[in-house]
């Protein structure tokens, strides 16, 4: 096999092992390629394929290298999700307050038939939102105070699991609040009748739903990446 094919095959294997973090895998591939080409170029021997084999051997097993990136990558992803949840909560709070101010301004009251449901719904909505705010802030403080470990030992895995569970709990409460908010807004708009002014609260509810969707996608991604990392360590030997 020619030198370039050997290097490409190795880099493909390394990139595949790093699929839990695609931007990282691109960066590592570029650095590893540069390193291997330097090493091959420095080899004084005559056979380039043999030089490539030696350089690849010295670089190490792709899986073992990928494992060393996992602890930091997972913590960064947990931090990103925690940050997104907090930003989404802040944005939804502004949207809710803005919509409330608009209802007061336009004097859009709820239909008397819906008053009982909406009173209970609004109380649950408020409670879920406040709880999501508290859990997300606590979660963020917990995530931000974690220090990256060079290895994915059991204690560190437990910390990462807690980070993700706190984010997932805050997101679940927030999504519950958004669902209730959507229902209550719908009831209010039905009572007020469809008009051009209704576009503003409808748009703000749509943004809330979109933000909830972003959180769901982010959480799904981070859990998928965590599963990929678990697979990476499935055949872990005594080195780790």
């Amino acid at each position: 096999m020619p030198q370039s094919a050997l290097v490409a095959e190795y880099l493909d294997a390394l990139t595949a092992e790093l699929r839990f973090d695609l931007p990282l895998s691109r960066r590592v591939r570029q650095e590893a390629e540069d390193h291997l080409l330097d090493a091959i170029g420095d080899d004084a021997g005559g056979d380039p394929s043999e030089a490539a084999r030696l350089a690849i051997g010295r670089f190490g097993d792709p899986r073992k290298i990928a494992r060393q990136y996992a602890p930091l990558s997972l913590l960064q992803q947990a931090r990103r999700v925690g940050g997104i949840v907090i930003l989404a909560i802040a944005a939804i709070l502004l949207l809710m307050k803005g919509r409330g101010a608009l209802y007061d301004l336009l004097q859009w009251r709820l239909n008397a038939d819906w008053l009982g449901i909406s009173t209970v719904g609004a109380a649950i909505d408020r409670y879920a939102f406040q709880m999501s705010l508290v859990v997300s802030v606590l979660g963020w403080l917990y995530i931000a105070s974690r220090r990256v470990s060079p290895t994915l030992h059991s204690g560190y895995q437990l910390q990462l699991r807690r980070c993700l569970l706190l984010s997932a709990a805050a997101a679940s409460l927030l999504i519950g609040s958004v669902v209730l908010d959507t229902i209550l807004s719908g009831l209010r708009l039905v009572g007020a009748g469809i008009s051009l002014a209704a576009v503003i609260p409808m748009a703000s509810v749509a943004i809330e739903v979109a933000l909830a969707g972003v959180i769901i996608v982010q959480l799904r991604n981070v859990f998928q990446r965590k599963a990929l990392v678990s697979a990476l360590f499935a055949d872990e030997n005594a080195d780790y």
Binding site: L24, A32, H35, G41, G60, Y69, L72
Partner: protein
């Protein structure tokens, strides 16, 4: 043992100035007289971790061969961390040196 001190080794190799991963490996090997012959791929996760911790900074440049390469350099925090590690290592080697010295004397005394 090397695994536990990899961060310190990388910081020390970069004390002379900015370098890319391959040059760091070569510098480590050269300055240790070949004693620190690490699996070469292990240096990149360490570089990435140290960069994310704020001890190193990096930038892409174009090398002599026209290839893109990432150059790493110590940040102010990195220099401080290296100085701390040096001091700690010095205390450790002094302590172990003293211990071995004491042991040798004790052995001599017991041997009499």
């Amino acid at each position: 043992m090397l695994k536990g001190h990899l961060d310190m080794i990388v910081l020390a190799a970069l004390a002379a100035g900015p370098a890319h991963g391959y040059a760091i490996m070569q510098e480590t090997r050269r300055r240790s007289g070949g004693a620190l012959d690490l699996p070469e791929g292990t240096i990149y996760p360490a570089l990435h971790r140290l960069e994310q911790s704020g001890l190193l900074s990096s930038r892409w440049t174009v090398g002599d061969a026209g290839r893109q390469r990432r150059i790493y350099s110590l940040t102010r925090s990195g220099r401080r961390a290296l100085a701390d590690q040096r001091a700690l290592w010095q205390r450790f080697t002094d302590a172990i040196g003293g211990l071995f010295g004491e042991t040798s004397h004790a052995t001599i005394r017991l041997g009499r």
